[in-house]
């Protein structure tokens, strides 16, 4: 038990270290401190369960869904998100500029995303009071706004499109027609 936990810890550390965005910054500063590390683990445990399982079970493939992020300038990026992962994490793993000031602990509104199709919005669990409290303060709130850290990938969400707030200046949520390429 202890061993498997340790190995999971190791996997996470290497995972973090190899992820490009941290390599040029001083990650070491955080890793050295116990409290931060604990916190780090607490935040990641929930949302990375599925990918960890995949690592442990080796050959078994984790199911992935397609999600399109539409950034502030209307640029689109299609990414594959493993089931169980939050949109905040997925965005960060794919270098999408979604802020995450509180790192998914429901204490800020910076990972605000807009679900561009009501159909998909309705497939999500209702936001909790705590999420609504944060959405109250979100910039450019819409009827289909959610916090990226609370939207967890599941098979029904395959094909979902999420807009980052500033993009709403140019596009209406439902009547959005993508530019031909």
């Amino acid at each position: 038990m202890l061993l498997s936990r340790l190995s999971r810890l190791g996997a996470r550390i290497t995972g973090e270290a190899t992820r490009g965005k941290f390599t040029d910054t001083r990650r070491g500063y955080y890793e050295g401190t116990f409290n931060n590390y604990l916190h780090f683990l607490r935040n990641r445990t929930l949302s990375t369960t599925s990918s960890d399982k995949a690592q442990e079970e080796g050959s078994e493939q984790t199911e992935k869904i397609s999600v399109t992020f539409v950034d502030k300038d209307g640029e689109e990026k299609l990414i594959k998100v493993p089931v169980g992962m939050s949109m905040l994490e997925a965005a960060h793993e794919n270098d999408i500029e979604l802020e995450g000031a509180c790192e998914g602990s429901l204490a800020c509104s910076t990972c605000h995303v807009i679900v561009m199709d009501v159909g998909y919005y309705n497939k999500l669990e209702d936001p909790t009071d705590e999420e609504n409290d944060m959405l109250d303060l979100a910039f450019g709130l819409t009827q289909t706004s959610r916090l990226g850290c609370q939207v967890i990938a599941k098979p029904e969400l395959d094909g979902m499109r999420l807009a980052l707030p500033a993009a709403t200046r140019n596009f209406a949520v439902d009547g959005f027609v993508p530019k031909p390429h």
């Binding site: 001083r26 000031a101 429901l106 800020c108 509104s109 910076t110 409290d133 303060l137 910039f139």
Partner: protein, 570 residues
């Protein structure tokens, strides 16, 4: 590839000019007269004109060439070429400028203040301009501003954002200089503007609005800001002469989130606070506190209360707390209904008040802590005790709401009915106030630096404004002391956008090579200022965490200025 296209493009233009010149010569000999000359000139113009498409190709080719040259880091003749051309098409001159910035001129940026506004600005600057070299200075030896000294100790999640700020500080193009004050014995604004191409002021609001009513300077009357700094271990407020043992009642004037924070800290069981990073002296004081009742006083009603749902939900949920709300205060006028309809947050806050009012017990149990929401009252004067040095209560005037013109905003007006509320302590939570420094335009009335999208402007009237080149403002100093941490994200985006526009247009960088960091270091050395680099803060950080661990707290803050410096330079 790029070079070939470039040469082809330039070649074609030259050929076109040549043909035109030959044509001009031939026709000038055979035709005479003014009319002919005009026609000739027109022809010449047409002949010399390079089609837009071709020009575009030339520009694109040049851009490719620049990238190649930059990548190989060898010398390029292009820069010289461009310098000799007087008027370039807009696209080209922009490329030429950013090119020269990329090549040699660094953009020296100084951000004054290391709170959320300062750090978000630094982050956006780093992303927005490759050659930006950013120095963040702060009056305190510690960074992060109100994230460290404002956010309540029982809100650790809100402080997680320092991870992001630390990554910014860890960027090699960014440096932190703690213990460096703007003005006073530190560095003057004039000096900073001489040292840096861009100076962004993000020093927030370190003072308080005053009520301007009698008795405000009596003992027992404090600003909520001072109280917050005190429990958060700010070195300026560690020695605050706060007595929590001479009374059972505290009055908080204001109903915003700061008011709710201070009320919560006064009412929350200290066993819970002991597990937070609350300052040791504050915890000890609160453990001995005799305060059992807290009144939160607002000039307007529950529809207008300035708090957010999260904070209200939290204080209403304190274990074993008796909450009292006058049910008659919850009656809504038609104008209130409109206000609620237009604001999701006001609606949700009102619903929480409503729910709390209907579920409250009629009377507190003996010894139970109490929280009273007092609506529609404004402070009229502070009542002195017999000794006349300390307060014994607050006189409140009943108010009613009146619509303020067409704005739809309702303001509180006095009704002439007064009642006294006895208490031994008052915390004024009516707003923070920014303080100007020498050489900085400042609007005393609004308490902000006059600015257009972050560009500091001089002059009171809009039509006579003059932009202070290279000087910008962000955060509370720019828009007043409101909003949450994330508000600074958008605020910083706006200011940085202005900076980048100005740099592009050549307005912010003065052209002369400013010394930037080297110059700052020189001044600090000359003045004998012992600055704290980010590595110094990291030492403080680990000592604080270690001391915290011994007490079962996430951190034990060092609250003494000298000790902070000692640890940082150890």
């Amino acid at each position: 590839m790029g070079k070939v296209a470039l040469r082809a493009g330039v070649g074609c233009a030259v050929v076109a000019c040549g043909i035109a010149a030959v044509a001009v010569g031939r026709r000038a000999r055979s035709r005479r007269g003014w009319g002919r000359a005009v026609a000739l000139l027109k022809e010449l113009e047409e002949g010399c004109a390079t089609p837009v498409l071709r020009l575009r190709q030339v520009v694109d080719a040049m851009a490719v060439e620049m990238h190649v040259e930059l990548a190989s880091d060898g010398g390029s003749k292009l820069k010289m070429l461009l310098t000799f051309v007087d008027s370039l098409p807009i696209g080209m001159s922009l490329i030429a400028r950013s090119f020269s910035l990329l090549r040699s001129d660094q953009l020296h940026v100084c951000v004054v203040g290391s709170g959320p506004a300062g750090f978000y600005t630094a982050e956006k600057m780093l992303k927005g301009h490759e050659a930006a070299k950013i120095d963040i200075i702060d009056r305190l030896p510690t960074p992060f501003g109100l994230v460290r000294s404002g956010v309540a100790p029982d809100h650790p999640e809100t402080k997680i954002v320092v991870n992001q700020f630390s990554r910014v500080a860890g960027n090699e193009k960014c440096s932190f200089f703690g213990n460096v004050m703007l003005g006073g014995h530190g560095v003057s604004l004039l000096e900073l503007r001489q040292l840096y191409d861009v100076v962004v002021l993000a020093y927030g609001a370190e003072s308080d609005r005053s009520l301007g009513i009698p008795g405000e300077d009596l003992g027992g009357v404090y600003s909520a800001r001072e109280f917050v700094w005190w429990y958060n271990g700010h070195p300026d407020c560690k020695a605050m002469p706060l007595d929590l043992k001479n009374t059972d009642t505290a009055v908080v004037l204001g109903q915003g989130n700061v008011a709710l924070d201070v009320a919560r800290i006064l009412l929350r069981p200290t066993s819970e606070l002991a597990k937070t990073d609350i300052a040791d002296h504050a915890l000890a004081s609160l453990q001995e506190s005799t305060i059992r009742k807290v009144y939160l006083v607002g000039r307007r009603g529950p529809v207008q209360a300035a708090c957010t749902a999260k904070e209200l939900r939290e204080i209403l949920g304190i274990k074993g707390l008796h909450v009292h709300i006058q049910e008659s205060d919850l009656v809504k006028s038609p104008t209130d209904e409109v206000e609620l309809e237009n604001s999701r947050i006001r609606k949700r806050v009102y619903e929480l008040f409503n729910k709390a009012a209907t579920s409250q017990q009629s009377n507190p149990i003996m010894g139970q802590r109490e929280l009273h929401f007092i609506f529609f009252r404004r402070p009229d004067r502070f009542v002195p005790s017999e000794s006349s040095l300390h307060i014994s209560g607050v006189r409140l005037e009943k108010t009613s709401l009146e619509e303020n013109g067409d704005s739809g905003r309702q303001v509180a007006v006095g009704t002439g009915q007064f009642d006294d509320l006895n208490c031994g302590m008052v915390l004024k939570s009516i707003g923070y106030k920014s303080v100007p420094v020498d050489g900085l335009p400042f609007n005393i009335h609004q308490g902000i630096v006059p600015n257009i999208r972050g560009r500091v402007v001089n002059g009171a009237q809009l039509e006579h404004t003059e932009v202070e080149h290279g000087l910008y403002v962000v955060g509370w100093l720019k828009r007043g002391p409101t909003g949450i941490i994330a508000t600074n994200l958008y605020c910083a985006e706006e200011t940085v956008e202005s900076v980048l526009e100005d740099v592009k247009r050549g307005l912010a960088a003065s052209g002369s090579q400013k010394p930037g960091r080297q110059g700052l270091l020189q001044i600090l050395e000359n003045k004998g200022i012992n600055y704290v680099p980010f590595s110094g803060w990291q030492k403080i950080d680990s000592v604080e965490k270690l001391r915290g661990q011994l007490k079962g707290k996430p951190r034990e803050k060092i609250t003494d200025w000298e000790e902070l410096l000692r640890v940082a330079h150890a």
